[in-house]
């Protein structure tokens, strides 16, 4: 006879789980009691708030490509996961969230710590299930992992009642489950569609690839490179598509959208063919939909049918795994260069250097540090090999614009939901998901303070995360909008901050504060040479703005440069 709690943990191990982020509590105690027997097999990371567990599971999934697992008790434990679940839903991240529930016979009675978590998370999960008896567990867990990682990934919520955890049943965990779920099926592409796309690619004069996170999810970095090089087509990326194509590649145009690179946005508006690979044309990418890419035929490749024609209407959509579709579209022999088009790209890259970049890196005037300098130097020092995990705001956009990336899965950021507080716990998860890589959490002073209790998780787990707090004593992005669109009325955006280096010291984490540009390289070097976690507080220009910027609802080539 085996108890439900043991069946659950055995089923997780069967799925390859070796790390769980979680927090114990009343209804989940039987599961934690069982976990005590599995300390060799499972590294349970005790977070300081359940929101941290969900974000850490996201960071783990994004860095490793495997589903992340988090666990919380019923009621407040479960509701604290909701921000992370929503974030994972918006950014297609496979996470399995296990929450305890009150005993089955008490459901619906407002029992102590009861929440209807299934109902609360219906619209933010790919699938959810309430387990009420031990004999359901093994199959449901297998199904959860299958669904989370098949097709477009997403979060799964499993709510398990206390009695299902404690009941013992006769059980052998050797069964292999197979699932055939209609909504996850992908048909083979029609050869007519593939040939049509190939014809357009061959005859295009100004083609452009827009690469999104779908490329990373499909592990299609190589296929993207092969397709771009063979077809000689420049590549522009979305926020979550960053690092799916090396930023050092001659065909790399840059990041697109509201704070995108000038060349990306102008090339989108000028292109005669757009190949959108694993991206969803979010409003931050398209700006004014009516005016988006007016001259282009659009080929949209995605694993999720519901993304086709949702915002931007495509001329051809190819439903499937992005890596496989790109491989099918790759010409057998290299296509000729589009030299005029590449000149247009170079002209716009030069325009950006003159109008925006040179000014940020000019050290003659002031010895203050800009966010752009910080990000550029940190990632160059790592040779582009590091993982950057960001929070949300100005520093996030600077990370997107000025980081060097030479490897895939190197930018982990909250895109769709824009969750402040995401960065620190996600970095913890990323380090555990990719232990051999340097993980830098770049956080603003606002976002850091939303989840800074996770310094305790770093301390207890001895997790080597390099934390860079970019401190301008403002909620910088909101302040920038107030400056540009609200007549400089800085309503509730200034922050009096504590001494972050002392806070790190309280947690036994080595720390340093820098304010002058001449100190920056030395401090970064010290941080990277330190063989454990480190907190570097960088005091930056108080009122730095992220430019260029496309005002909300404008066409994406209507950019403010300074």
């Amino acid at each position: 006879m085996i108890k439900g709690s043991q069946i659950l943990i055995d089923s997780l191990i069967k799925e390859g789980v070796d790390t769980i982020f979680g927090y114990p509590g009343g209804s989940i105690m039987p599961l934690y009691d069982e976990l005590y027997n599995y300390q060799e097999e499972i590294n349970h990371v005790l977070v300081r708030h359940e929101q941290g567990a969900a974000h850490a599971a996201q960071g783990y999934a994004r860095a490793s490509g495997k589903p992340g697992v988090c666990m919380a008790t019923a009621g407040p434990g479960a509701t604290n996961l909701i921000t992370g679940i929503t974030d994972a839903y918006m950014d297609s991240t496979p996470i399995i969230c296990i929450t305890a529930q009150v005993p089955t016979d008490k459901l619906g009675s407002n029992f102590f710590q009861e929440t209807d978590i299934i109902n609360l998370t219906l619209s933010i999960t790919k699938w959810s299930y309430q387990i009420t008896s031990a004999d359901e567990i093994a199959e449901v867990v297998a199904k959860a992992f299958h669904i989370a990682s098949t097709g477009r990934p997403g979060p799964i919520l499993l709510s398990i009642t206390k009695n299902a955890q404690t009941t013992a049943i006769p059980f052998k965990n050797s069964k292999k489950y197979k699932f055939n779920i209609p909504s996850l099926r992908v048909n083979k592409l029609r050869s007519g569609d593939v040939n049509l796309a190939k014809g357009w690619i061959e005859s295009a004069k100004k083609p452009l690839i827009l690469a999104g996170q779908g490329v990373t999810i499909a592990r299609g970095e190589e296929q993207l490179m092969e397709f771009a090089e063979r077809s000689n087509i420049p590549v522009s990326v979305t926020l979550l598509g960053l690092s799916s194509f090396p930023t050092t590649h001659p065909l790399y145009v840059g990041f697109m959208g509201m704070h995108g690179n000038i060349a990306s946005n102008f090339m989108i508006q000028e292109a005669d063919l757009i190949i959108a690979a694993g991206m969803r044309f979010s409003d931050r990418v398209t700006g004014d939909l009516e005016k988006f890419a007016p001259n282009a035929k659009i080929i949209h490749i995605d694993i999720d049918r519901s993304e086709f024609n949702k915002t931007v209407k495509s001329h051809l959509h190819l439903h499937g795994d992005v890596a496989q579709v790109l491989a099918q579209l790759t010409p057998p022999k290299a296509l000729p260069q589009h030299s005029e088009w590449l000149q247009f790209m170079e002209k716009n890259l030069q325009k950006e250097r003159e109008l925006v970049i040179d000014r940020l890196f000019d050290e003659k005037g002031s010895n203050k540090i800009t966010m752009a300098q910080l990000v550029e130097r940190a990632t160059h020092m790592c040779g582009g090999d590091q993982i950057i995990v960001t929070d949300v705001g100005q520093h996030q956009m600077f990370c997107a614009r000025y980081s060097k990336f030479t490897k895939g899965r190197s930018l982990i950021s909250s895109g769709g939901l824009g969750t402040m507080g995401f960065g620190l716990p996600a970095a913890i998860g990323a380090k555990l998901g990719a232990p051999d890589r340097v993980v830098i959490a770049v956080l603003g002073d606002g976002g850091f303070q939303m989840t800074m209790q996770e310094l305790g998780t770093i301390m207890q787990g001895k997790i080597d995360v390099k934390v860079v707090v970019v401190n301008n004593s403002y909620l910088g992005m909101v302040r920038q909008w107030q400056e540009l669109f609200f007549d400089k009325r800085y309503s509730q955006t200034h922050m009096d901050n504590p001494d972050f280096t002392m806070l790190a010291k309280a947690y036994g984490i080595q720390s340093r504060r820098v304010e002058k540009i001449e100190e920056l390289d030395g401090a970064l070097k010290e941080m990277f040479e330190n063989d454990s976690s480190y907190l570097l507080e960088v005091i930056v220009e108080k009122e730095e703005n992220v430019f260029p910027m496309v005002p909300l609802g404008s066409s994406i080539n209507n950019m403010i440069y300074q």
Partner: protein, 83 residues
């Protein structure tokens, strides 16, 4: 232009499928005019019928999103003949 549309779906007869489907309407601030769920001729499969007044574009997107749900076997929509 807004018209009455009827969604017809075959779904697994599981708890919460119905709420997951109706949540798609709520998210778009749409009011459901009529709703019927019944057993189908196949064991474990239910038929869901929902009518709602909206635009064709929003109906197309709702139906695609419903079609993505794990417990939905198939879904289609029709314009109501009664108008």
């Amino acid at each position: 232009m807004k018209k009455e549309y009827i969604v017809v779906a075959n779904v697994n007869d599981n708890i919460s499928v119905l709420n997951r489907i109706t949540a798609t309407y709520i998210k778009r601030h749409l009011n459901i005019d009529s709703l019927n769920v019944s057993n189908s001729s196949k064991k474990g499969v239910s038929n869901v019928l929902i009518s709602c007044v909206t635009t064709k574009e929003s109906m197309e997107q709702i139906v695609r999103q419903i079609g993505n749900m794990i417990d939905v076997l198939n879904v289609r929509f029709y314009q109501s003949a009664l108008q």
